[in-house]
């Protein structure tokens, strides 16, 4: 298989101007990966700055409440900046510095990757510009403020759906224009090679830790691992170390949004077909003419028309299962986890909780579910207040 390919998926579909930069990045990453000093610096920052390892927490009350499988939560929400995104931002930030690039650009949907990038740039003394759709800026105002406080410039994107897809387009345009001195910290396991591989590698630590922790706590591997899938970085990070453990089910949860119609959700594996968007070949939500569809999700971080190419490969070969959770069930899941465990999950992560709530009751008590809690819900308070009030669900 060619490097950067996952079965038929992945590759590089970009303007020629970016090719030299992608080759430079591929080379620099290959070197850094083998460099003990780079890995040691990354490990040290992950431990002392980001707060790794994160706990694998037995959710006793949730387990009892659902009946059925034992539920563990991998607590990526406890990381500095509030989500798994810091794993990748630290890795790429160190790489940018090593490559001598002082100007950093990033894109963000829910804002977590933007906050993580802004944080890492502040830490390493790099200039940071974050592209964010205006709709997402409205939905995630708190994270916009955080990024600005950290010294990043947040540039609103008013084209298209004004969400993540459009922010990625603008970041790519900036990179095409300023390619010689700019490093693009891409926020998920997608885009042109080497990003899907590199971002997965920086998030592999989730699955490596989870595997050791569950073996220590239970003496065996889990029945299934559940993670939400937007671009898919937290999911591929959680899944990767278990790929060869065929008895472990890998379950990715996409955004089912408000319905099955094109434009009402972001369930690429249910409603999409393979195509090329933003540099990679993967499943894309699109119309019959190849125009990329608008998407909807209550969570800005999953509201995206394509998915990381490694997930496309895992989907087609059947190694991972992909399902979706709709907005209503996701909101229910937020309340459920808050009330049973005192943990407020990000709306993204609540998709994984919703699937857990769906399948755990039908499982046996010796089954074990590990749910990757990719981020915490503080950023979503505005949306939660609005959505839960609208639905009259305060008393759930």
């Amino acid at each position: 298989m060619k490097p950067g390919r996952f079965g038929a998926y992945g590759g590089r579909y970009v303007p020629e101007t970016l090719m030299a930069a992608l080759e430079e990045l591929e080379h620099a990453y290959a070197e850094a990966k083998e460099d003990a000093a780079f890995q040691a610096e990354l490990a040290s920052l992950l431990k002392d700055f980001a707060g790794r390892p994160t706990p694998l927490y037995f959710a006793k009350r949730l387990t009892e409440s659902l009946g059925g499988a034992k539920i563990y939560l991998k607590r990526e929400d406890l990381l500095h900046t509030g989500a798994h995104k810091i794993n990748n931002a630290l890795g790429q930030g160190l790489l940018a510095k090593r490559m001598g690039k002082r100007r950093i650009i990033a894109e963000t949907g829910a804002g977590q990757h933007g906050v993580a990038s802004a944080t890492v740039c502040a830490l390493l003394g790099l200039e940071c510009i974050v592209y964010m759709g205006e709709e997402d800026m409205r939905r995630q105002e708190l994270n916009v403020l955080r990024m600005r406080l950290l010294g990043a410039e947040v540039r609103g994107v008013s084209s298209g759906s004004k969400t993540l897809k459009d922010a990625v387009n603008e970041a790519l345009r900036d990179w095409v224009t300023n390619v010689r001195d700019t490093y693009y910290i891409l926020g998920s396991a997608l885009g042109p090679h080497p990003y899907p591989t590199m971002v997965r590698d920086f998030n592999r630590v989730i699955g490596i830790e989870a595997r050791e922790q569950i073996l220590e706590k239970e003496g065996r591997l889990p029945t299934a691992i559940i993670a939400c899938v937007g671009g898919g970085s937290n999911a591929i990070g959680a899944f990767y170390q278990f790929l060869l453990d065929r008895e472990v089910r890998l379950i990715g949860v996409e955004a089912g949004g408000r319905g099955k119609a094109l434009g009402d959700h972001a369930a690429r594996f249910e409603g999409g077909v393979p195509g090329v968007l933003q540099g990679t070949y993967s499943y894309v939500l699109q119309d019959e003419n190849g125009q990329v569809s608008l998407t909807h999700s209550v969570s800005a971080g999953l509201d995206y028309a394509t998915v990381g190419p490694e997930h496309a490969c895992l989907h087609d070969c059947g190694r991972a299962e992909y399902v979706s959770a709709d907005d209503a069930h996701v909101l229910e899941a937020v309340v459920k986890l808050a009330r049973t465990e005192g943990i407020l999950p990000a709306l993204e992560s609540a998709h994984a909780i919703a699937e857990c709530m769906r399948i755990a009751p039908g499982m046996a008590s010796h089954d074990i579910l590990v749910v990757n809690l990719s981020g915490r819900g503080d950023k979503d308070m505005g949306i939660l207040a609005r959505e839960l009030n609208i639905q009259g669900a305060q008393g759930i």
Partner: protein, 277 residues
């Protein structure tokens, strides 16, 4: 190959197919998109001296393009323009102007969705000469090149100032028709001055290829065309014309657009003259 540059420098004119500028009175009907204004403008451009027309397939996510072409794409999509409409327009232009060069300019996804082999057949049937895909690089292009060869269409690849020599060599090896040299790093759009990058890039391309080299991105006036003439075979004009169409339809109505484009193109071979824009 019908791609021939009749004058020096040759002129390649980009049009977003299905765009009617800011005109409102030809909305796409339920029966399909109305590409008649694009047809009239293309014919006027050819008659005014354009050697090659690039028919842009509008795409929802044109990440290599600047705001002018992005707006045109959005308008064309809002009017219901599909790839098959663009191919239909190409066939009409071929029938009307047998000697003009015709190139389909697109992002990859609409072509993939249409079907690569089906597209190659349809484009050849329509009388298209070449195809340029902005997000197709030579390393990924084996199947695409094979399809183009099968129906005798020219795959036109882009070369960038950032492309190292080994990439230029591969681009030269796989290109037919002409090579499109990007004058600078960046997205499409008018620029005040033509970057010095352009001449150096064309010189490097010539080491690897005997094909004509067209320079594009940022060219908007006769002085820049004259500058391109010193080192390249043709100039590509895109955003400047799309913007001219936008402004003309807004200020004077769409019926004035073909004439305005024709005057603009005629003026491109007269450096230091007053431009239409």
């Amino acid at each position: 190959m019908a791609i021939q540059f009749q004058q020096h420098p040759g002129l390649v004119v980009y049009l977003t197919a299905g765009d009617a500028g800011l005109s409102n009175h030809r909305p796409g009907s339920a029966g399909g998109a109305d590409l008649s204004l694009t047809r009239e403008i293309a014919l006027a451009a050819i008659d005014a001296g354009a050697d090659v027309i690039e028919l842009g397939v509008p795409f929802s996510d044109p990440l290599a393009d600047g705001p002018v072409i992005q707006r045109a794409s959005e308008r064309a999509l809002a009017r219901g323009t599909r790839l098959k409409d663009v191919l239909g327009l190409a066939a009409e232009l071929r029938a009307a102007r047998p000697k003009a060069g015709l190139v389909i300019f697109s992002y990859l996804n609409p072509i993939l969705r249409f079907g690569l082999a089906k597209f190659a057949d349809a484009a050849a049937q329509a009388g298209v000469d070449g195809v340029l895909l902005t997000d197709m690089i030579v390393e990924e292009a084996a199947e695409y090149i094979a399809e183009m060869e099968r129906v005798n269409l020219a795959p036109i690849f882009l070369a960038a100032p950032t492309s190292p020599d080994e990439r230029l060599q591969a681009i030269a090896a796989h290109s037919k028709g002409f090579i499109y040299a990007i004058s600078r790093t960046g997205i499409t759009g008018k620029q005040k001055t033509l970057a010095a990058d352009a001449a150096a890039l064309v010189e490097r391309i010539r080491r690897w290829s005997k094909l004509p080299v067209a320079v594009g991105f940022g060219i908007s006036n006769a002085d820049q065309v004259a500058e391109v003439a010193k080192f390249a075979d043709a100039a590509v004009i895109g955003s400047a014309i799309v913007e001219l169409i936008e402004r003309t339809t807004l200020d004077h109505g769409e019926e004035q657009a073909p004439g305005a484009v024709a005057r603009f193109i005629k003026g491109l071979h007269q450096p230091h003259s007053v431009q239409a824009l």
